[in-house]
Structure formats: structure tokens, C-alpha cells
């Protein structure tokens, strides 16, 4: 029978950070049990205390963080009570870590093989020549092809997925019995994420290693874990068998989290809501009688080639986008979906007129935008199409107050008097459901979701017809993301806007898009209505993308 003593048992754990002589509670009263060979997931939004918990287990709390109360028992021994030196001896040899960011967790100055060898030598597993041999075995085991050659390469020669495999090899090198995987794939593309997680599953099963998976993605957690712990603001709000929680959430917060998760949403419900939104948006457009053409924008044969320095003094061509064609119908949303490097953002910048295409045309209401010359006409075009960018931390000037940021478009376009502009800013804040008290605040005083609302308000200031949303919800927590998507849908209905929605996350597309273009390596591989993409994907790559959405196959009750 199974061993009934837990491998890891955390009881009533409290973690505090000292800030200006005050104690800030990061984790409060956490209980968690992991048995041998199990996968347990901690799920929560940013700031929920999930990573802090993971760091406490391996004694890597940053800065002033410390365990204030409670116990962390590993094989019955309380790590909190141990001396620091003894505690450290558990790191690597008993408890391994796969960190979050594969880009910053490998030292760029050392060969990948040497960094894994270090783990072996520090933990007295093997030394010298034997260790070199072992490194190659470990890399092979982590699913890295051609491991012999790869071990002698530097991190910059590896892709993101390969680096994460190397980090998995390092985490498992000393054969720990517990592996902590802290958002191991959140920096990777979905298809790579699936490969890595599948491989990690097989490997930990074979070795009988227990995995503590830290993630913000409920679908991913439910798909991979036996036991699930949902954290909110430092406290566990619900825990239990993964499937049970997903199908029958009890706590108000978990319910909301499951409702908001785009990957878990009932497909028909999402598309039904979307169709209703589109119809009223288009109604709005025709009421205004402004439909000069049905398609507000037409993109034809759009191609962008970047010249990169090649060998010696030659230049090589990087084709970022090739022959992209699509029409944007008034009052609808077209989504551009693709993984990193697919050229989707390049297309967005050309549509916005920020970069000039190498070939092809962008037509706005039948006019080729490259022929719009002269200050007056340029300004007229600019106010019709506005962007909202990905990073809510970089898309607002930190030196500008919220009022200044939203007013800027009006100032640049010399619209209205000072008091009229102030009136308009208030109106815009209402439109994005922000209180007027936000007006004299600065971006650093607002949350990510609030900033993104400000960015949307600013984009709407000049009453544009088209919004280009470049990964506009990708950096947000699930619940906030759901709110912003809802807001975008409402605004579309209310103002008859047309959206070009750029995203790497196919799951989100269902909630907002009518038409979808799937891009890969600069080319459009599939172009269809949103419904068709989800129900009958024609191309293998689209099928792979869909299959990689975590938690997609889980049957939800109701």
C-alpha cells in the first residue's frame, strides 16, 4: 500500500515581511500536505502568496521575509527549527526547484553543462569526469536532443523551451524527492508549455518525485495536479481534490476564478454572448449612418522585411510578416493569434502606421494610409485609429498624472477649451468605470487593471473608430482580464468600435473575436470565423494551439 506519512507537511504557516519596522503578512495560516509521488498545485493571482510559500520551503525568502509562525515538516523534520546550515543541506538534494524565468536563471557566463554539474558536485552526488557523463544523461532525460553537444553550449544558444528543460535537469540532478516548480512555463509559448509539462509529468512519474506546482493558471493546475490549493491574499480559501474543486467550487472566490478562466469557459456560452455584442455594435454603426464601406480597414499583401547584420559585412533578411491579407468589418473584432515571433505585433505596428510596410497596403476607409501626407491629414487619420498596448506598467508615462495622460490626446489635437477637456476626461473615466478621484493620481498608485482602463480611456479620447489592442489583457490576472474583456465588449456595443485584437492566447479569443487569423513565422496559416476555429480547425498548427490550452478537456459540471 501507499506510504501514509506525508513527504511535506506545512501547518499554520505565517510569513511576514518587515517594511519600515511594520510587519506585512504575506502568508497567513497556510496548511498543505504533499505525499510521495503526488502533484499538488497552489493556484492564485499575483500577490496571493503562492511563490512566497514556495520560497519559504526551500529557505529562499527574499529580503526581509521570514517565517513568523508554523512548521514546514519535510519527512517529519521541521525545517523552520533547523539551523540555517542544516536547512541548506535540504536544498537541491531533497527539495529541487525549477524557477519561473528561464531567461534569468541560467548564468550567461557558464556553459549549460557546467551549471548542472555544479548541482551534482555541490550535493556530493558525483564529481569530475563521472559528473560530466551524468550531466549528459540528465539533459537527455529532460528531453533535450543532442545533449552531448548541447551541454557545451552557453545559455544564449538555447531557446526558451530548451533553457527550461536545462533548468528541469538541474532541479532533478541531485534526485530530490520533492520538486518545486514555480510557474515553470509562464514565460513560454503554449505549445512549448504543453511539451514541457507533459515531459515533466512523465519524468516525475518515473522517478517517483512529488511536484509542488505553483501557477496562476487554474486550468493548468487542474489538468496536472491531484490536490489543489487556492490562495487569495495570503490565505488558503479552498483546498481539496483538484477535479472536485473545479466541478464544484464552494468558496465565492474559487467560483469566480473558475468562471473567469478563459480556457475553462463553456464555448457556446462565450460565443453566444459575443454574437449578441457584435450584432448590437453593428446596429449602432448603421444607425449612425456612417458606414461608407462595410470594411473600415483592408489589409493587402502586407509584408515587412527587417535587415539584420549577417556574416561579416553582409545583411540578412528577416521576414517578420509575409503577405498578410484581411478586412476589418465595422463593429467587429478581428483577432491575430500567434506565438512569439509570429509577426503579429509587426502587423499591428504597420496597421497603426508606426512602421512602414516593405510591401503591401493598409487601406483605411478605402484610402491607402501611406498616401496620407501633410500634417492636417495625418492628424485626421491618427485620431481614427488608436492603440492599447500590453504592458500596463510601460504604456503610461510615469511622470504624467492620470488626468494628464487622458487629456494628452485632446491637447495634441487642440480639442476644446481647458474646461471642456476636463469635462471630457471625466466622461471617459466614467466610460471605463474608474472613479473621478483617480484623476489626480499617478500611474504607480494604480493597479495593473486600473492602468489598463486608463490606457483604454486615453485611446478613446479622440473618439476613434478602430482600436488596435496589442496583447492588451495578457499581463493581467485572470479576474481582471475577464473584467477588461467585458469592458471592451461593452464599449464596442456602446460606441460601435472595431477592434484588431492581437494575442498569443487562443483561449481569450473566444470571448472577444468574430474573425481569427492564426499566424506562424510571419505567415497567416489559417483564417476563419471564431466559431470555426474552435469547432473545426483546418490546419494542424491551429489544432496544436487548441490542444495546448490547459484544462480544455476537463468536463465542468453545469
Amino acid at each position: 500500500m501507499v506510504n501514509q506519512t506525508p513527504l511535506l507537511e506545512i501547518e499554520n504557516l505565517h510569513i511576514n515581511f518587515s517594511v519600515d519596522k511594520r510587519q506585512v503578512h504575506a502568508v497567513q495560516g497556510l496548511n498543505l500536505t504533499v505525499y510521495e509521488g503526488q502533484t499538488v498545485a497552489i493556484v492564485g493571482e499575483s500577490g496571493s502568496g503562492k511563490s512566497t510559500t514556495a520560497h519559504a520551503i526551500i529557505d529562499l525568502l527574499p529580503g526581509t521575509g521570514h517565517v513568523a509562525q508554523g512548521s514546514i515538516k519535510y519527512q517529519g523534520k521541521d525545517l523552520v527549527q533547523l539551523q540555517q546550515k542544516k536547512r541548506r543541506s535540504y536544498r537541491g538534494s531533497h527539495i529541487g526547484l525549477v524557477p519561473q524565468d528561464p531567461l534569468s536563471n541560467l548564468n550567461p557566463l557558464y556553459k549549460v553543462g557546467a551549471q548542472i554539474k555544479e548541482v551534482l558536485e555541490v550535493n556530493d552526488v558525483v564529481k569530475g569526469r563521472d559528473a560530466d557523463q551524468r550531466v549528459i544523461e540528465l539533459l537527455e532525460e529532460a528531453g533535450l536532443p543532442d545533449a552531448q553537444r548541447r551541454a557545451k553550449q552557453y545559455p544564449h544558444e538555447f531557446s526558451g523551451g530548451m533553457r527550461q528543460r536545462a533548468l528541469i535537469a538541474a532541479g532533478l540532478a541531485a534526485r530530490p524527492q520533492l520538486l518545486i516548480a514555480d510557474e515553470p512555463t509562464s514565460a513560454l509559448d503554449v505549445t512549448v508549455q504543453k511539451q514541457i509539462l507533459d515531459h515533466l509529468d512523465v519524468l516525475t512519474d518515473e522517478l517517483g518525485v512529488a511536484v509542488l506546482l505553483i501557477t496562476h493558471d487554474l486550468g493548468l493546475a487542474a489538468e496536472r495536479a491531484d490536490h489543489l490549493v487556492v490562495m487569495y491574499k495570503g490565505e488558503v480559501v479552498e483546498s481539496g481534490p483538484a477535479l472536485e474543486i473545479l466541478q464544484d467550487p464552494q468558496h465565492q472566490y474559487s467560483k469566480r476564478l473558475i468562471n473567469a478562466a478563459p480556457s475553462l469557459q463553456s464555448e457556446r456560452l462565450a460565443s453566444r454572448e459575443r454574437i449578441a455584442a457584435r450584432e448590437s455594435a453593428q446596429e449602432h454603426v448603421s444607425e449612425d449612418g456612417q458606414s461608407l464601406t462595410d470594411d473600415i480597414m483592408q489589409i493587402q499583401n502586407l509584408t515587412k522585411v527587417f535587415k539584420l547584420p549577417g556574416k561579416g559585412f553582409t545583411k540578412t533578411d528577416l521576414v517578420a510578416a509575409q503577405n498578410v491579407n484581411f478586412d476589418l468589418t465595422r463593429g467587429t473584432t478581428t483577432a491575430l493569434v500567434g506565438e512569439s515571433g509570429s509577426g503579429k505585433s509587426t502587423v499591428a505596428r504597420m496597421v497603426l502606421g508606426l512602421d512602414a510596410p516593405t510591401e503591401g497596403q493598409v487601406y483605411f476607409e478605402g484610402v491607402d494610409i501611406s498616401t496620407i501626407k501633410g500634417h492636417g491629414r495625418q492628424m485626421k487619420f491618427r485620431r481614427r485609429i488608436q492603440p492599447v498596448f500590453q504592458n500596463p506598467y510601460a504604456s503610461l508615462d510615469p511622470m504624467f498624472s492620470i488626468f494628464d495622460a487622458i487629456e494628452e490626446p485632446l491637447v495634441v489635437h487642440k480639442t476644446g477649451s481647458r474646461s471642456e477637456r476636463e469635462q471630457r476626461v471625466r466622461q471617459l473615466l466614467d466610460q471605463v468605470s474608474l472613479p473621478h478621484s483617480a484623476m489626480n493620481r499617478y500611474p504607480n498608485e494604480l493597479s495593473g487593471g486600473q492602468r489598463q482602463r486608463v490606457a483604454i480611456a486615453r485611446a478613446l479620447a479622440l473618439k476613434p473608430d478602430v482600436l488596435v489592442l496589442d496583447e492588451a489583457v495578457s499581463a493581467l490576472d485572470v479576474l481582471v482580464q475577464a473584467q477588461i474583456l467585458e469592458l471592451l465588449n461593452e464599449l464596442q456595443v456602446e460606441l460601435g468600435l472595431s477592434y484588431l485584437f492581437i494575442t498569443h492566447d487562443l483561449a481569450v479569443v473566444r470571448q472577444i473575436a468574430d474573425n481569427v487569423l492564426v499566424m506562424r513565422h510571419g505567415k497567416v496559416v489559417e483564417q476563419a470565423s471564431a466559431d470555426n476555429i474552435f469547432t473545426a480547425p483546418a490546419v494542424e498548427y491551429t489544432q496544436d494551439l487548441l490542444a495546448a490550452i490547459p484544462g480544455r478537456d476537463i468536463q465542468l459540471a453545469g
Binding site: 501514509q4 488558503v236 485620431r383 494628452e408 495634441v412 498608485e445 493597479s447
Partner: protein, 323 residues
């Protein structure tokens, strides 16, 4: 794989309902809004280093502008009968070899050092900020010219260049007087000091111009100049200010070094560098070290104050650099 009967410690647990209202739309209005400058000022106020260096600097600036409040003795009236006299009542720092009152000379010497430091920093910052910002923002040939130009000036050691420049100037403009002397040193230091700020400003601008808020402003149709002056330069200021504050101390040391070598300020100007130079025989003999100690000490305290202020400003403006 999924166990149906949960193991001990893994039973279903549901916390009592907590208020998990979304924070999304609530804006905390319990405290007044804070711009980045205000935040920096708040951080600065909490740093004892700032108060320590600032109070020293207030005293030093007082000495610079009102030397006569502290001493009524003329720093240029020598009485050889007091040569190398020990400290005594009315002349607390004693007399130097020429019979000058050391206290009076230390007090009056502050002006030249501090003014040269401040002026050089202001000129260098203005030149550096604009050349760096333009080079970083426009790139292309302008960047090539500015960056290579900066490299050339940067490659010549500041002191060596100033020595050569000032010696050459002595041949064409030997009797410069007080302000002429100060002006010459400021120009010599500024000509070779600007590349440092240029590099910092250029780097900051290169980083900022790729941020999304700049693209957002471009999409509005805002002009290049508007972008540069309203978005990019204000955001590039913090690292420039930090570098400028720290380098102020360096320029004061450079002035003293040049005067010590006899090519900075003319000997007729009362300055710490000149007095330290005049005290050279005492360094060799080891007697009457008070002649050396007071001007050198005043110089050290002034430089230290500016450097500490620079550190405090860095902590406030660039929280990431803090340990």
C-alpha cells in the same frame, strides 16, 4: 491518478467567506497623490545621509556667500613676523609661512572651490543632457557624431587634458584675475567633463524611447519634439541628476588638484588648492602641519558632503540601486 478518498491532510477545505471584492475600481484616496518627484522627496526625507550632507552643505554655502560674517581678518594681509605661527586667540587656525591668517584663508577659499564645482556641473549637465538626448532620440549620423565625439573627449583623462589646456591658456592670457581664473578652470573642466553625462543621458533616452507610452504618443500624432520634451527627457532626468550630483565633488577635487599643480587658479586667488600647494614644505618637514591641515580638511569635508548627497539622491531616485 485522481484519488477519490483524500488522504490525511488533503481533505476538502473551504475557508469561511472572506470579502474578496475585486480591488479593481477602488482608488485609495487616504493619502494625497504622489508624483515620482514627490515620492523621491519622501524617500530623501527619510534618509539620515541626506540630512547630514544637506546640513553640512548649508553651512558651506553660508561660508561661500557670507565669509565676512565669520572672519573680519583680510585673507590677503600678510605679516611675516607671524610666519608659521601656532593657533592663538583671534587666529584660531594659526598663520602660514607668509604670515596669512589660516582661518580667514580657509573661510574665503571656499568660494572658489564651490563656485567652480557648481558652475562646471551645471554647464556639463546642460551640454550632456541635450547632446545625449538628441543623439539617443534621433540616432543615425547625429548619434554617430555625438557618440564618437564623446568617446574622443572621454579617452583623454580629465586632469591631463585640463593641465594641457590651462598651460596653453597661460601663454595667451597670463593675468586673468579672480573671475577670469575661475572661468578658465570651469571651461577646462567642462570641455572634458561633458561626455560622461552625454553617455548617461543617451543610454536613458535609448531605453525610454522604446517604451510603449512613447509609441502611444506617436500614434496620437504628437510631434517628435513634443515626445522628446514632454515624455522622454523628463523620464531620463533621474540618472542624469544622480551622476551630476556625484560628479560635483569630483570637479571640486579636480580644481584643487590643478591649483595645487600651479596651473589652476592664479596664486592671487584665495583657494584651498593654492593654500595646499603653499603648504608643501610643511609636508616634507613634518612641522607646523596646521598650515596644511585646515585647507585640506575643509576641502575633504566639502567633497564628502557632495558625494554623500549624491548617494542619498541616488537612493531616492533609483530605488533599484538600493541594497
Amino acid at each position: 491518478m485522481h484519488n477519490h478518498t483524500p488522504r490525511q491532510g488533503q481533505e476538502r477545505f473551504v475557508a469561511p467567506a472572506v470579502s474578496s471584492e475585486l480591488p479593481a475600481l477602488h482608488v485609495d484616496t487616504s493619502h494625497p497623490p504622489e508624483s515620482q518627484w514627490k515620492q523621491a522627496w519622501k524617500a530623501l526625507r527619510r534618509n539620515w545621509l541626506f540630512w547630514f550632507s544637506a546640513s553640512l552643505l548649508v553651512i558651506i554655502l553660508f561660508v561661500v556667500f557670507f565669509p565676512n560674517v565669520l572672519t573680519s581678518v583680510d585673507p590677503r594681509s600678510a605679516d611675516l613676523s607671524h610666519s608659521l605661527g601656532k593657533p592663538q586667540a583671534g587666529h584660531i587656525f594659526g598663520f602660514d609661512r607668509q604670515g596669512y591668517d589660516v582661518f580667514s584663508r580657509t573661510i574665503h577659499g571656499a568660494r572658489a572651490s564651490v563656485i567652480i564645482g557648481l558652475l562646471t556641473t551645471i554647464i556639463v549637465t546642460i551640454i550632456g543632457l541635450f547632446t545625449g538626448a538628441l543623439a539617443g532620440f534621433f540616432g543615425g549620423w547625429l548619434d554617430t557624431i555625438v557618440s564618437r565625439g564623446a568617446d574622443i573627449f572621454f579617452a583623454i583623462p580629465l586632469l591631463l587634458a585640463a593641465i594641457v589646456g590651462l598651460s596653453a591658456l597661460n601663454n595667451v592670457w597670463p593675468d586673468r584675475g579672480y573671475w577670469g581664473g575661475v572661468f578658465a578652470v570651469v571651461i577646462a573642466l567642462a570641455v572634458f567633463g561633458w561626455p560622461q553625462i552625454t553617455r548617461i543621458a543617451r543610454g536613458a533616452v535609448l531605453e525610454i524611447k522604446h517604451l510603449e507610452f512613447v509609441d502611444a504618443a506617436r500614434s496620437l500624432g504628437a510631434s517628435k519634439w513634443r515626445n522628446l520634451f514632454t515624455h522622454i527627457i523628463p523620464n531620463a532626468l533621474p540618472p542624469v541628476i544622480v551622476t551630476a550630483t556625484v560628479s560635483l565633488g569630483v570637479y571640486i577635487v579636480a580644481e584643487a588638484t590643478l591649483s595645487f599643480l600651479g596651473i589652476g587658479l592664479p596664486p592671487s586667488v584665495v583657494s584651498w588648492g593654492n593654500d595646499i600647494a603653499a603648504a608643501q614644505p610643511q609636508v616634507r618637514s613634518g612641522d607646523n602641519l596646521h598650515v596644511l591641515f585646515f585647507p585640506a580638511g575643509a576641502l575633504a569635508i566639502t567633497v564628502l558632503s557632495f558625494m554623500l548627497l549624491g548617494d542619498a539622491v541616488r537612493d531616492a531616485l533609483d530605488p533599484k540601486a538600493r541594497k
